[in-house]
């Protein structure tokens, strides 16, 4: 009997080893370990054995069973793994082919500049103020110390609608409106982005419609050095920490003193190149201390309050930042242009 069991074990293990599919392995399991299998049959003859032999033989039979079962288990794991391998191999794809596109739209480069500037000044406690694009002559000119017939009105060719209404020529209009609303109280800290219009023929550097961001701070102790410091923060943030600014005296009717602000050329670092027309500097904005007439007209006591204001040309910033050479690109909306600004 013992011999028979050992024989069966060898026989079964040989079959397990040669099995090449899960089904075959299952057949072996049923054939040897099933209720009608040879081991069960052998165990049925146990009745003929003596009381001493019976447990010994029983134990042996179990050992044989376990050995076969464990071999089957082992084989099964191997076969299954091979099966998975085969399946995966058949599922292989070309991972270098392009994926299903998720098309994201683009942010207009002018909006990017506006939002970048907004966020910078929001962080410094400014609010974003907006105003109408069609304005009264009063807010566009008179409240800004440009009475009717003032020669400086020629600096800005204006689209008039009627004698008293016009398309605003600058976002300084919002200054006057916000100051009026604040009724002579400070502090006012605003930036005012928006569209403005001037009678210009559209060409590579002129556009009858463009964007400006006006900045205004009014309070009791505002100094020109505050303006300089603020603009320095702005320039370093927009153009890089190593950029310098230069203030040149200038004239705007609504500020006194008035300055033009240049930033050191990013391309040549100030040595002079074609971008900065050999000067090392690029003009980017106009600024100054709010003219006392403007403060007074808006209801502020100019002996008590002072302020500074600056006006940034959005297109100019975008052109400098991205090397755009034609202002009309911003308004043509060619997708081959817009698509270049995915990351901004």
């Amino acid at each position: 009997m013992k011999e028979r069991l050992q024989e069966l074990q060898q026989e079964a293990i040989a079959k397990v080893e040669t099995a090449s599919a899960l089904k075959e392995l299952n057949d072996v399991r049923v054939a040897y370990l099933g209720k009608k299998g040879p081991i069960t049959e052998v165990l049925r003859g146990m009745g003929k054995l003596s009381a001493e032999e019976r447990p010994v033989m029983g134990a042996l039979a179990n050992e044989v069973r376990e050995a076969i079962a464990s071999k089957i288990e082992e084989k099964q794991t191997a076969l299954e793994a091979a099966e998975v391998e085969r399946k995966l191999a058949s599922e292989t794809i070309d991972v270098t082919l392009p994926g299903r596109p998720v098309k994201a739209g683009t942010h207009h480069p002018l909006t990017s500049v506006v939002e970048e500037v907004e966020d910078l000044f929001l962080g410094m406690g400014y609010e974003v103020a907006e105003g109408p694009e069609v304005e009264q002559d009063y807010y566009n000119f008179e409240a800004l110390n440009l009475p009717k017939g003032h020669p400086a009105r020629d600096m800005q060719d204006t689209f008039y609608i009627t004698e008293e209404t016009l398309l605003r020529t600058h976002t300084s209009t919002v200054q006057a409106r916000v100051m009026n609303k604040n009724e002579g109280k400070g502090p006012v800290k605003i930036i005012c982005p928006g569209k403005v219009y001037r009678r210009d023929d559209d060409d590579a550097t002129h556009s009858h419609q463009f964007m400006q961001i006006e900045g205004l701070v009014v309070d009791e102790n505002i100094r020109m050095s505050d303006l300089k410091g603020t603009l320095e923060v702005f320039v370093k943030k927009m153009f890089g920490a190593d950029r310098e600014i230069r203030l040149r005296p200038s004239f705007f009717p609504f500020t006194e003193p008035s300055v033009e602000v240049d930033v050191s050329c990013a391309k040549c670092g100030g040595k002079g190149c074609n971008v900065c027309k050999q000067t090392g500097w690029i003009e980017i904005l106009g600024a100054g201390m709010v003219h006392p007439n403007v403060l007074e007209m808006a209801g502020y006591d100019s002996t008590k309050y002072r302020g500074f204001a600056f006006g940034i040309g959005v297109e100019r910033i975008a052109m400098l930042k991205h090397g755009v050479d034609d202002i009309r690109h911003f308004y043509t909306n060619d997708v081959r242009f817009l698509d270049q600004f995915k990351q901004v």
Binding site: V134, H208, P257
Partner: protein
Amino acid sequence: MFVSYRWLQEYVDLSGVTAEELADKITKSGIEVEGVENLNKGISGVVIGHVVEREQHPNADKLSRCQVDLGGGEIVQIVCGAPNVAQGQKVAVAKVGAVLPGNFKIKRAKLRGEESNGMICSLQELGIESKLVAKDYQEGIFVFPSDAEVGADALDALNLNDEVLELGLTPNRSDCLSMLGVAHEVAAILRREVKYPSVNVQTSDEQAADYISVKVEAKEDNPLYVARVVKNVKIAPSPLWMQTRLMAAGIRPHNNVVDITNYILLEYGQPLHAFDYDRLGSKEIVVRHASEGEKFVTLDDQERVLKGNQLVITNGSEPVALAGVMGGANSEVKDDTVNVLIESAYFKGLTVRQASKDHGLRSEASARFEKGIDPNRTRVAADRAAELMAEYASGEVVSGTVEVDTLTVEPAVVAVSLGRINDVLGTELLMEEVQDIMNRLQFENKVEDETIVVTVPTRRGDITIEEDIVEEVARMYGYDNLPTTLPVTVATPGKLTEYQLGRRKVRRFLEGAGLAQTTTYSLTSAGKATQFALNATSTIGLAMPMSEDRSILRQSLVPHLLEAVKHNNARQSDSIALYETGSVFLSKGEGELPDEQERVAGAITGLWHAHGWQGEKKVVDFYVIKGVLEGLFAQLGLEKRISYAPVKKDGMHPGRTAAVWLDEKEIGYVGQVHPVAQKQYGLRETYVFELHLQELLAADVEEVRYSAIPRFPSITRDIALVVDKNVLGGEVQRVIYAAGGELLKDVTVFDLYEGERMEEGKKSVAFSLRYLDPERTLTDEEVAKAHGAVLEAVEKEFGATLRS
């Protein structure tokens, strides 16, 4: 203002400072020098030659063969094509080997068989703009005065070895529209002196008052009028140095009398006018307002129709000049003029400006009057002109002037404390430093305690208040030297408004959905102004548009978006998805500011999605663009409050356009552009939307309140309902929601069938209904009850039956 470096040296010592260095210093202290032009333009080898003989070229009608003495005994033959070349002339000769502007080299040549050793030059050939060349030399060579030195450098004689600084003057600095004004500025910068010309008029015994009387009827507009008479002038070219200075300043020489008036204008900034005394037609000058419609021919031979607010100089009956703008043809100084009346006057800037604008006539004179001249130079300018006419036109100056003077000239006195200066600038200047700056500017001043009292010279009419003095201090001190600080104010919260945040959210969503942001023009044509508008009003047009295409303010963003789509379609980009946020302008009546409403609009065409190698593509249709809006509304928390209804709208497809409603308000539309409009714009099938952004963002949206994640399973029931074809799916969905009660959580459409297996005029719409009770597991009975109510409701409302 063009400033000759050599001329400027006459008024201020420029030794040790090159033109370039000077330009830099002027720019830094306040006046932008826009350019420094070297008049030499790289010319070399041009000398003054004497035409000793001139003959007809044997082989060419239009050429001359000249023998020209170049000095030092050198006589060469030159073939010349100029019609005015003549024997005895002193001319500019570019010798063989000379270089002219544009690196043009002169070589020995044979012209029609005749040897030519150089070129006799016109002024244009020496780099002078044609519009600056005197009429006599326009078509030919330039002829030097007979005393010119043969063999000398022609460029020196023509003052072309000079540099010209182009000043970009802001309107406040009209003082620098004169050489003396610039000299003051430069003197202050360099800490040097200003040298004024000495004026010394020799006069005859006759009295000007015997020749002319002056009456001013419009004293407000003309508070000062000075007349001087110069007799027996000989009209001739002005001296070469004067001509060259005028040309350097951008003024064309005419004759000695006219050139002298222009020279004084440049030197003092005081415009003068010279009348031909004998052509005045009377012995009186009357300054008055023109009568409305009065006609007058100006120097340029144009007839002008005058307006009542314009000021004219008359001879008592008719105008002889448009005050401060231009003289009249009737009294112009000509070659035969003998006696001259010099006018030096102070006209009010606004009046001159308006007249100059009305007639489209901007002259050197009007530019100065407009911005304000120094009233203290009016007399001296007349004197200096008379003196120069005596010297350079052989005139006899009649004694005295005839004047009408109602002008009170009070120099501005401005007191400013040192504390104020330092407070405004953020500096710590000392009084000595401030005073030093005032002294450099030649502003009279005295210090009283901590305040400096400045008497501003009348040439600087722009300085009237404390801040003006502060600015003078700042610019002379140097902005580079200002400290940098940041404003110290009470803390202010920097934040966007709800609306600004909402607008950013809308933009971000649309970009995330695949639409590119655009910026288009607000001005459009009459045809496009109200097209596609949500609610059009009468239009708002410009008073003086530059073109028809940019003449009216838009009332919809869609037309320009469609233009942008077209632009791209025409450039091989077929699949386009664009959006814009921007204002439209609705009229509130003539003269009123319009109602500016902000819109968000989009336009989509072509393929919405394509994944070529996998064979996937989706062509844009109505439900694509509607899906974008649904996504947007969900982001804004409004999805349950938005509804859509079919709508007929100009320019839109009648069967594929929906009005968008927010609660009870119509806030926009979405749909396909009408095929006719598509054709008009040159487009393929294109879908658009436009929404009232302010209404959209004004909706009160509650803060998000968390509700517990359900722990119990939901039960889904699908139904296919057969309804009439014209029944709207959205309506059925709404009725189902209403009938389903608390337990019904979602109703989604999952199928639409209108095919042949349906009865005529019917369609089947299939909905999936999800029931849920968050507190417990639903029983079949409860679902059956709710579901029964749904079926009953749709049958009652639409006659809907379940599809078998």
